[in-house]
């Protein structure tokens, strides 16, 4: 039996899903989309049940990527039962989706969640009356406390095993509309295609000129994945194939209506209107409000969190805490992982020496595989802690507030309020910053945010930059230089966003119409489970790429064997590239370090150390050695280029995985490179013209 959880965003679907399926979940992607697909298998009453946690949606008319998925799933895969989750504290708008579901799916159970919140905001919901009004079973739940969830599932199974489809009450449409629906029903009833969906729903969609009506789709789904990996299987996307399009009757009727002024938009509006009308008619039967106007928890928190004076300082404090947690507090863990990797590399190399393995294998393992993969593994604590905070902020409802406050600044760049968080995260590490774009609904906003994120200098880059700045610009000049670099990055982020808007074609500007949910206290399971799943999938997707890339970098930098750095292939590459570097005043050493910086930018200092022949690994002494070979203007040019070109391999891989497009990833890489060198050129020649040396 297939059961799908459907509802508005933030009503507790995932909470119910997590309680029911526990660790027995499979997290994958919907075919061709970056929206997560979560399913799980449970056993109840001799039944094997496949549960699907569908993305939150406000209606079944397609709008965002997530809503399209939910709609397609219900239409094309016909779940046996739909568990419709409703937020009791916001029942009026939630029922709008329920009414749409009831028209489409015959077997529905309503789960009335957040009963605790409803009570505390002075609402009483008479469940029996609601069930009676809609003629659908209704179960009260408090998902966060695990109350009512089993009953909800039992009821769904009972409805699923009924021998006949139950008959929910129909939405009564106004006379003029009802007539048109009837007329269309009459035309469609004899059509063989039309038998697969409820007739009334089909007639309504036909009047709205829904493009999918009449289409035949084949799902090439493996159904239940065979994979052994029980936790976080990333495979198993269902893809659909259009088989054929049947033209349905009623075209003439539609044209007649059109002539009378009943266009597609007009029908949509009329149906929506009638549904809301119906809800407000039945609402008094089952909802009573005591003490309206009494401020709720959410009101009191928002009075501070969204206040014009305190809102921004509070947001800074929250973001500061997130950064501290993910990038400062996690540092010892990351360090421990690096040390552990170095240590295990040593052990393996010892073993190899004992087994008299050739020298190059030892070097490959120590300097190639373990050094490269270790550099990425060191990110894992950062990413895990960052995602834990992220889930916490999203589930609690604060993320929406941050988007509210940041929207004005994002709007200047033509972006969405939710891009703000991704960009700010980029300061910590660009990898989670790019992954954080998942909350953006519009795929184009998402792509742009993803592509400009690398321009924001992450903590490791800032570390290298400040070492170089300290060596070349001692004293208070240093902070001025650092500030100028940060301003430059901000400026370029802005300009690039506006530029990308032109490159990335967008038919309609995305709307910023966003719900500000009530504040919730997230459950531990809701925070930890997705954190684990996301971290695991980061590891799983990144590691093959990183492994290959580490081997390539090692290979280039150690062959031909036994020659100085300059004569290795990587060194030669730096030499060839010096024609690009020359206009910027870069010598081959700088170019080599830039080439190597591709793997991970924090290695740049140590590469420079080797090239300038400084044995010590203290960053200060390396930078000091550079001062002899470079003028401050050279150094400043280097800093500009260093700050702006691709952050690291991991960020490129993440961009590829998140955008799913090699083309856009290459575009992003090329854009970064070209922009950084152009900026470097401007700085170098501008500086010379102004007489700096």
């Amino acid at each position: 039996m297939k059961i799908a959880l459907v509802g508005n965003p933030n009503v507790g679907k995932s909470t119910v899903f997590n309680v029911l399926t526990g660790s027995n979940q499979q997290v994958g992607n919907w075919a061709g989309k970056t929206v997560e697909r979560k399913s799980g298998i449970i056993q109840r009453a001799n039944q094997t049940i496949e549960m699907i946690d569908l993305p939150g949606t406000y209606s079944l008319t397609a709008y965002s990527q997530e809503e399209i998925i939910t709609r397609e799933y219900i239409l094309r895969e016909n779940p046996d039962v739909v568990m419709a989750m409703v937020d009791a504290s916001n029942i009026e708008r939630n029922l709008y989706l329920v009414l749409q579901i009831l028209e489409l799916a015959p077997r529905v159970v309503i789960g009335l969640n957040m009963m605790d919140l409803a009570v505390s905001s002075g609402l009483t919901i008479h469940t029996a009356e609601l069930a009676l009004a809609l003629n659908v079973p209704v179960i009260e739940i408090v998902a966060a406390k695990g109350k009512g969830i089993e009953e909800f599932l039992d009821e769904a199974i009972r409805v699923g095993t009924l021998s006949q489809d139950p008959l929910p009450r129909k939405v009564p449409y106004p006379q003029a509309l009802e007539q048109k629906v009837r007329a269309m029903e009459g035309l469609l009833s004899k059509n063989p295609w039309a038998t697969r969906y409820p007739l009334r729903w089909l007639a309504i969609k036909r009047l709205e000129r829904d493009p999918e009506i009449g289409q035949d789709w084949k799902a090439s789904a493996p159904g239940i994945s065979q994979s052994k990996d029980s936790c976080c299987d990333t495979g198993y996307g269902v893809s659909y194939e259009l088989l054929k399009t049947t033209s349905l009757p009623g075209e003439e009727l539609l044209e007649t209506y059109e002539a009378e002024g009943w266009s597609k938009d007009h029908f949509e509006m009329a149906f929506a209107d009638a549904k809301y009308q119906y809800i407000s008619e039945i609402l008094p039967k089952f909802r009573t409000t005591i003490n309206p106007g009494k401020p709720t928890w959410t009101d009191s928190i928002d009075a501070w969190a969204l206040s014009p004076i305190w809102g921004y300082p509070i947001m800074m404090a929250v973001l500061g805490l997130v950064f501290w947690g993910s990038f400062v507090a996690s540092a010892p863990l990351g360090g421990a992982i690096s040390q552990g990797m170095a240590w295990s590399a040593e052990v393996i190399v010892r073993l190899l020496q004992w087994g008299q393995a050739p020298e190059f294998i030892q070097s490959l393992i120590r300097d190639g595989i373990f050094a490269g993969v270790g550099a990425v593994l060191a990110f894992v604590p950062q990413i895990a802690i960052f995602f834990a905070f992220f889930s916490l902020m999203q589930d609690s409802g604060y993320l929406a507030r941050a988007a509210f406050l940041g929207d004005r600044f994002m709007q200047l760049m033509g972006l969405h309020g939710k891009s703000f968080f991704s960009l700010v995260s980029g300061f910590g590490c660009n990898v989670p910053g790019i992954m954080a774009t998942r909350t953006l609904e519009d795929p184009k906003d998402r792509l742009i945010t993803m592509l400009i994120n690398p321009l924001i200098p992450c903590v490791p880059r800032l570390g290298v930059m400040s070492a170089v700045v300290a060596a070349f610009f001692p004293g208070s000049r240093g902070s001025v230089v650092m500030l100028s670099l940060l301003m430059l990055s901000m400026f370029l982020v802005m300009v690039s966003a506006l530029f990308m808007r032109r490159v990335v074609k967008q038919t309609e500007r995305s709307a910023f119409v966003m719900e500000l949910p009530l504040y919730h206290i997230p459950t531990l399971r809701n925070v930890l489970l997705p954190t684990w799943q996301k971290t695991y999938s980061f590891l799983k997707r990144a590691w093959t790429f990183i492994l290959v890339a580490s081997i390539v970098v090692w290979f280039l930098s150690s062959y031909p064997q036994g020659v100085p750095m300059q004569a290795t292939w990587a060194g030669k590459m730096g030499g060839w590239l010096s024609f690009i570097g020359a206009p910027l005043g870069f010598d081959w050493r700088i170019m080599v370090s830039i080439v190597f910086g591709f793997a991970a930018k924090e290695t740049t200092l140590s590469t420079l150390g080797i090239l300038y022949g400084v044995a010590a690994n203290a960053s200060q002494s390396i930078a000091q050695a550079m001062t002899g070979a470079m003028t401050p203007l050279n150094a400043y040019t280097f800093l500009v280029v260093y700050m702006l070109y691709i952050p690291c391999l991991a960020s490129v891989v993440t961009t590829y995985k998140e955008s799913g497009s090699l083309g856009w990833t290459s575009f992003g890489v090329a854009y970064n490179l070209i922009l950084s060198f152009i900026m470097g050129w401007i700085v170098f020649h501008g500086g010379q013209a102004l007489g700096f040396q």
């Binding site: 209606s59 709008y63 209107d273 004005r408 309020g417 119409v513």
Partner: protein, 88 residues
């Protein structure tokens, strides 16, 4: 008196009269419950010309001023004259 939602001060209530423009934005507003006849309250306006926080049907919505300028509203006490659907 007819005004635009974007012109309301914080704390003011009004009733939706019609939504100008069409396409995805209008459909989105419809999904969120902004249909003619619905009562709205502007809770606060974000500083520097940022979005508005609006309460309707017992929940909160954030909307940019640009979107708010598409929503024509009337005062609540004014009797909403039932209009034929075709004129909306």
């Amino acid at each position: 008196m007819e005004r635009l939602l974007g012109d309301l001060k914080s704390g003011e209530c009004a009733c939706v009269k019609c939504i100008q423009g069409g396409g995805a934005i209008r459909r989105r507003m419809m999904d969120m419950g902004i249909v003619p006849g619905v009562e709205l309250e502007v809770i606060r306006r974000a500083p520097f010309g940022g979005p508005l926080q609006v309460r309707l049907k017992g929940y909160y919505l954030a909307m940019r001023r640009g979107e708010c300028a598409k929503i024509a509203v009337t005062d609540i006490n004014e009797e909403l004259i039932e209009q034929p659907l075709a004129s909306r």
